[in-house]
Structures are given as C-alpha cells and as structure tokens.
Amino acid sequence: MNLAEYKDVYVFAEQRDGKIQNVALELLGKARELADALGEKVVAIFLGKNIKDQAQSLIAAGADKVLVCDDSHLETYLTEPYTEAITQIIKEFKPSILLIGATTIGRDLGPRVSARNVTGLTADATKLEISEEEKEFRMTRPAFGGNLMATILCKNHRPQMSTVRPGVMQKLTPDASRKGEIVDYKVNFDDAKISRVKIVKTVKEEKVITDISQAKILVSGGRGVGSKEGFAKLEALAKELGGEVSSSRAMVDAGVMDASRQVGQTGKTVRPNLYMACGISGAIQHLAGMEESEFIVAINKDKYAPIFNVADLGIVGDLHKIVPMLTERLKTMQK
C-alpha cells in the first residue's frame, strides 16, 4: 500500500428517510478542521434516493465536494449495498481518513467496511486530531467503561477510519455561500449479494422522541429524584429555563424515564450550555456522557458525591426543596 496515494478527509453523510442526520454535520465540522491542518479537502459521501437537492447543505456544513450516489438500492440503509458503495469509493478515490457517525447504522457499516478494505477502525472516538510535527492522525476514545482514555493510530493502512458518537463534535454555522463540487457517482451492485437481507418493515416508534443531545439546557435527574412525581419538579424547571429533562441510567432502569433521555456511556453524550445534575451521584459512566457540558450545576444531598468533582457549582442540599424554589424564582424574574 502506497500511503502517499491516499489523501483527503471523507465523511459518511448519513440520511434517514432523506433527512441528513445531525451527526453528519458534526463530522463535517471536525473534518474541516482536520483537512485544514493537513492542507487537504473534505469530501462527503452521500448515499440515498432522490437526495441530490440536499447536497448543497453538506457543502454549507464544511464539505469541499459531495459524492452523490442516487440509487434505489441505497434508499433505506442495508449493510451490503452501503458497504459496497463505500468500498467502491475507497478503491477509486483513496481517502486518507474516513469518519462515520456511531449510530446503529454507522456501527453496523463501519466494521464491515474496515474488514472488506483490511484497515483499522477506531470505535466511538471522542477526540480527533492531527499532530503538529508528524501530521499524524490521532484518535482518542474511552475504554474500560470510560475509566481510561486510549489514543489510537492506524499507521500503515488506509483509510484511517473512526466512528464518532452523535453530540461529541460541533457542527459549523452553515454558510450558504460556501462553494463546492457536487459529483454523481454510480455504484455497481451484485444483485445476488445485496438481496441476501430483506427489509420486511421499518417502524418508527410513536412516542415523541426528543433528541437530548441537541438541547442547550438539560435538567437531569438521578436516583435522588426517585419517582415520576420527582421528575415533574425537574420538568417544571426545564420548562422555565427553556430546556429538556434528561436522566441517569438508574432512573431508566427503574422504568421512571425513557431510555431515549439517558445520559452516559450507554446512553447519549451531551454537551449543553447548562447541565443541572439533580440527585445524580456521578458514576464514571454518567460523567463520560456529560462532563464536556459548558456549565455544570450539581444538587445532591451527599457532599461526597463524585458529581461535585466535575460541577462548576455544587450545592449540597435537597433538590426536592431547591428545584421548586428555583422554578418559582425564575418565574417571578420574568414578570
């Protein structure tokens, strides 16, 4: 493998039902930074059906070039046609770096692409950087349930692949005046191979799912909140602050909160402007999902709770008293 032939930072721009996913825009923001450090280009791989009219928004988000594969086989995600499309792009264009969102789609696709192309894949990186001297691509990820960080290299294989969880990287402010190239790319499929898995149906859950990773303000509750009634107090505060309610794993396991609102290693990664941790002790798995928040307020009865180690403002006290009082205070301030 001649490493010098490989260049540019590629992003898999995931879409569902024709809608570009937020994680794709976040990855384009990071890819822009990496490509600028290398003096290379950002290329978005955009697979789907009747999607070309949206390619410009990927350029506005940071891409220099968008490869559009418009094909009915790519309308809804399936492992084989997507793996094959990306493999053909890798063989033809030789990317140096390939970033994929760590969604249920990306974490199915990434390993299959890495094995077909015999290259390395770093899972769920939280930090991606180009080293100043060697211009080496360094991927840092949590290991051992978030207890340890490891920086991974992929020295002699290309592309250097990484998945990144939604909410970890920051998207750029869209710039509609940015110029880029939109190129159609035709993939050749082996019909026998791509038809081995059939979609019987795709079901969207009826419940309204709020994407907590997009919220600017989160009022988050843990074991100390205790019950649905306790969470009602948090919801009232969140409403007053214009934010959303999220939860620790304990309250999801207890059936009090929905899993879509869970913050942490097995839940979502969030970095809001304000994270109010109420009755959350701060297990390392929880901290892994929220410690990048801009400003953290913690309210907990136990003054030794580890959450106070990451909080910018810690209050040792009873959230059941403080939260309603704070809500009332904010209400009177607005009058």
Binding site: R16, T79, T104, R107, D108, G110, P111, R112, S114, A115, R116, V118, G120, L121, A123, R138, P142, A143, F144, G145, N147, L148, M149, A150, T151, L153, C154, K155, N156, R196, V197, K198, I199, V200, T202, V203, K204, I209, L241, N273, L274, V297, A298, I299, K303, N309, V310, A311, L313, G314, I315, V316, G317, D318, I322, M325, L326, R329, L330, M333
Partner: protein, 261 residues
C-alpha cells in the same frame, strides 16, 4: 440446525477503579464475567435449541482462564465448547481478532452465528460484523428478537434502531449480533454445573485455523495504541452547603453571570 455463539470473557467494568496516585487501572479483585451481550446471544441460541433441537457450540478467544465462561455456558446447556488460545493471537485489535475467530468458524458447520453486539471492556461493536465480512455472510446487528422458519431456513429478526425498529429477513447461513437487554439469560442448573466439569473444553491453537500470520495477533492489527491515560477530569468548581434560599440565589447569580438566563 447448528448454531455457534462467540463469547468473550471481560472484566466487570462497573467494578474497575483508578489508582489516584499512579493513574492506572486497578485490575486486582475485579471479577471476570461472560460479556453481557454475548450471554444474551447465548440465551437466544438455547431458546432455538429448546424449540428446534439446535446443536449449540460456544467459542471464545482469550487467555487460558477464559475456560471459566465456557464451563458456565456448558452449565447453561450448550453442547460443545472451544477455547481458541495461543500467544500468536495476542495483542490483536478487532480486525485481527475477527480474522482469527472467522478462521476457526471456517472449519466448522453452522447455520447461524451469534455474537454479542459489543463487549463492555471495549464497547466497539466491531467483531461481529467483521466476522460476517470475513466469511462473506449476511449480517443483522442490534438484534432484539429472532424467529426461525424451518421450512425455508429463514430467520426473521427485529433490529433495534434509535428511533424505532426494523424487521429483517435472511436465510441461513448468516450472522446476528445480540443485545443483552432483549432477553433474560437462564441460570446454570445444579446438574448442569456438575456435568459441565465432566465435559471436554476443546483447546485450539493458531495451528488449527488456516489464517496467515500477518492477519492475526499484533502483526495483523492495523491499529495500535499510541498511549493510554486516565481520564482528565476538569478541576472542580466550588461546592456550598447552604440553606435552600441561599442555594437558589447562588444558582441564579451564576446563571446570570454566564448569560444563561
């Protein structure tokens, strides 16, 4: 029907602690367990055994002490257990691991391969799909339910998605990766535990799998760890033990100062 379940022995990461002086992992006293998603996958296999009389094999790659989880699987009711262990397989990343396991699977008969979605020590979710790729088999990951039609040898699988689920179908032979949360694994039975220790655990070395040496172990790993370090937590802010009234004032003032309200 023949099923092979790939399982892994992992440290119980919820018990892992960091030595604050040295910043290194304290691994002594941390129990080793069968990875939860793998155990979920094993339960799916045993349910197919109950229903259709499937023959279930478990395989693990690891150190000799990984025999413990194979004995546990035997006590839960599997028919055959294989320990793939060799110094030549050490230091493997996910790609080299999947190459070695796929090599072992290639020598076996199967209709279905089940792996866990991911292991709690690495959380990569890569080895299952990579095994499927090496064997050129179709795959469905994030499986939360599985039905089988004997006449057509077709599996109908419910796959978890962030915003709902998908129902997918594929024919044997194929690969699925299972979610621990989807099933409650059965307990070992007393008679199972007794007989598990009479059963043979087959020990395979790298010579049993026909995989080139540059595809296994450290040599076959495209990725390497440049450095590892304990997570740097940002310095703690101030913590106050005050009355609820004062607490509210403190919070309001800080939020104003930060232009959040």
């Amino acid at each position: 029907m023949k099923i092979v379940v790939c399982i892994k022995q992992v440290p119980d990461t919820t018990e892992v602690k960091i030595n604050p002086q040295t910043g290194t992992l304290i691994r002594e006293g941390v129990p080793s367990i069968m990875n939860p998603d793998d155990k979920g996958g094993l339960e799916f296999a045993l349910q197919l055994k109950d229903k259709y009389g499937a023959h279930v094999t478990v395989i693990t790659m690891g150190l000799p002490q990984a025999e413990a989880i194979l004995r546990e699987a035997l006590a839960m009711g599997v028919d055959r257990a294989i320990l793939l262990t060799d110094r030549k397989l050490g230091g493997a990343d996910t790609l080299a691991t999947s190459s070695a396991i796929a090599g072992a699977l290639r020598t076996m008969d199967f209709d279905l391969i089940i792996t866990g979605r991911q292991a709690i020590d690495g959380d990569t979710a890569q080895v299952g799909p990579q095994i499927a790729e090496h064997l050129d088999l179709p795959q469905v990951s994030y499986m939360e339910d599985l039905q089988y039609d004997e006449a057509t040898k077709t599996f109908t699988i419910r796959k978890q998605m962030e915003d709902g689920y998908q129902i997918l179908q594929m024919q044997a032979p194929c690969v699925v990766t299972a979610l621990a949360s989807a099933v409650q694994p059965r307990y070992m039975t007393v008679s199972g535990i007794v007989t598990a220790y009479d059963k043979e655990v087959e020990v395979w070395g790298a010579d049993r799998i026909n995989v080139p040496e540059d595809r296994i172990g450290k040599a076959g790993s495209p990725t390497s760890v440049f450095k590892s370090f304990p997570k740097q937590l940002k310095p703690a802010g101030e913590t106050f033990e005050v009355s609820p009234e004062e607490a509210v004032e403190l919070i309001v003032n800080k939020l104003k100062e930060k232009h959040i309200i």
